[in-house]
Every structure is written in C-alpha cells, then in structure tokens.
Point group: C2
Chain length 159, copies 2
C-alpha cells in the first residue's frame, strides 16, 4: 500500500507532524472509524447548519418519518441513545412544533411519535441535501467502493 515515511528506529528528537509514523493507527479499525465519523459529523454540521439539523435530530426525523407512531423507547434503542437523553431532544422538537406526542389508546403509558407538517417539511428539505453531502464525504471512493463500504459496515453491525 502507501509506502509511508519509513523512519527507522532513529532516536531522532521532536518529529514534526506529517513526518510521523502512524502506520499502527492506520491499521487500527476503531481509530480509523473514529476519524471517519468525526469527518462525517463535521461535514454534516457545515452542510445542514442552515436547517438547524444535527446528526441526532436528522436520524430522529428519519425514523419517525418512516415509522409513524414509533415509541420513544424503540427510537432510543435503534439510535443508541439513552432514553432520558432522547427525551430532552424530543421535548425541544415538540416545543418547536416539529413532532407530536400521542397517547396510545391500547396502552395509556405508551407514546406514539409523529411528525407535524412542519417537521415533515424540514426533513424533506434535509433529505435534498443528503445525496450531495454523502457524495462530498465519499468523494475519494468510486461508486462500487461506496456501496462496498456501506455493506461492510452493515455486516459488522449485523443489520
């Protein structure tokens, strides 16, 4: 692969950035996943800032859109958020008029989450930014490689 700066075992002092031997980290999937995720989230904030969407609220909108009536507990589970932390976000989204909470008729403890028309409009606008955003983030990969990456990630997570 990339013949990286070979810096043998010299005791050379203060190596400056760019000349560092990072090969061990480059072979560490967890570290590379962290850097990739940081890159995607930073890019997301730039791209979606005008709409006020964050990665978390984007995912929340998408799941409610595709699963109207989903309860907070299921939503927290699939998004890997703790329920109390999700509730805080839902409170903001509801008081801003983007989502609605309905009491279930069959189990009056349960909440059914729905998008309001305002929320549906917001995620629809967000969805229009998604393709160009992903394209920019994945620019170094060709189409087949982009599909491959997604498939490998899905397999790791056993979806």
């Amino acid at each position: 692969m990339s013949p990286k700066a070979l810096r043998p075992g010299t005791k050379a002092a203060q190596p400056s950035e760019g000349l560092l031997d990072l090969r061990a980290l480059q072979r560490t999937p967890g570290f590379m996943l962290r850097l990739a995720q940081l890159k995607f989230f930073e890019g997301f904030y730039e791209e979606f800032a005008a709409l006020g969407l964050t990665p978390a609220t984007y995912a929340i909108f998408v799941v409610i859109r595709d699963n109207p009536g989903v309860p907070p507990s299921s939503l927290a589970s699939v998004l890997r958020l703790r329920l109390p932390n999700l509730i805080k976000i839902l409170n903001e989204l509801e008081s801003s008029g983007f989502i609605k909470r309905n009491r279930s008729k069959s189990d009056r403890r349960a909440i059914e989450l729905m998008l309001t028309p305002k929320g549906a409009k917001l995620i629809q606008e967000g969805a229009r930014l998604t393709a160009p955003y992903n394209k920019k983030m994945l620019a170094p990969l060709d189409e087949a490689e982009q599909r491959s990456l997604l498939e490998l990630l899905n397999r790791i997570l056993r979806f």
Copy 2:
C-alpha cells in the same frame, strides 16, 4: 441485499423495535460509522479495562512509542484532540509514571514526549490484546473484507 421488513405506507400505530423500517439510516454512511464506532469503543472498554487503557490513551501510547520525542501539538493534531484536552490526559499519564516530558534543547518552548519503561510495558501488554480484539469486532467479515474496510477508511481520510 437483505430483504428488510417491507412495511408499506400503512398508518399502523406504535411499530415495535425489530419491525422498524431503518433502510434510510442503513444507507446513511455517517450514521453507520457512528454505530460501528460505538461498537468498537464499547468492545474496547471491555477488552482493555483490566489494563486501564482507553481508546484515547491507547492511541497516545502508540504514537509516542513509534515517534519518541513527538511534541504535544503534533500528537493533538494527528489524534484530532484539542491541545488543552490532550494536556489534561498527559498530566495524568505523567503523574502515573507512564510518560515523561523533556524540554527540547533547540527550542526551549517545545516539549518532547517519551514513554517511561513502565509506559512501554503497558502498551506492550495492550498490543497483545489488539489482534484478538480486532478479530472479535470484525468477526462478520472475512480477511479480504477486513483489509478492504481498512483501505476504504484510509482512502476517505486521505492517509
């Protein structure tokens, strides 16, 4: 691919987890990267807890080991940590006797970071856990796919 629960546009109420339509998120690289990273970090804490290593300190040890004399500013840059946040971790690692700070002779503002023998021993023990840990995390992928994933992540990050 996986013929996922097809749930057409029924207005069906309170879909329970496992029956949710998550196809949009599964096609969202940023979201899948977040889930994969969470999986790797949770697995890391289980595997390395006995040694007291975190993902952050593991990476710090590896970079100093492979680049003795590296200054904090370069370290922060490659690990994508803000310098003040890295300094706090370095203070703990130094007072625990794992690393040492030397003043540079040529530029007396600069710090050269080194592992102590104790620190070198710790990362050596940590390195022995790395292969089995990565193998467990990547178990759903065969060898070629594991290499492919790493290479795609490296390309995204232009390493």
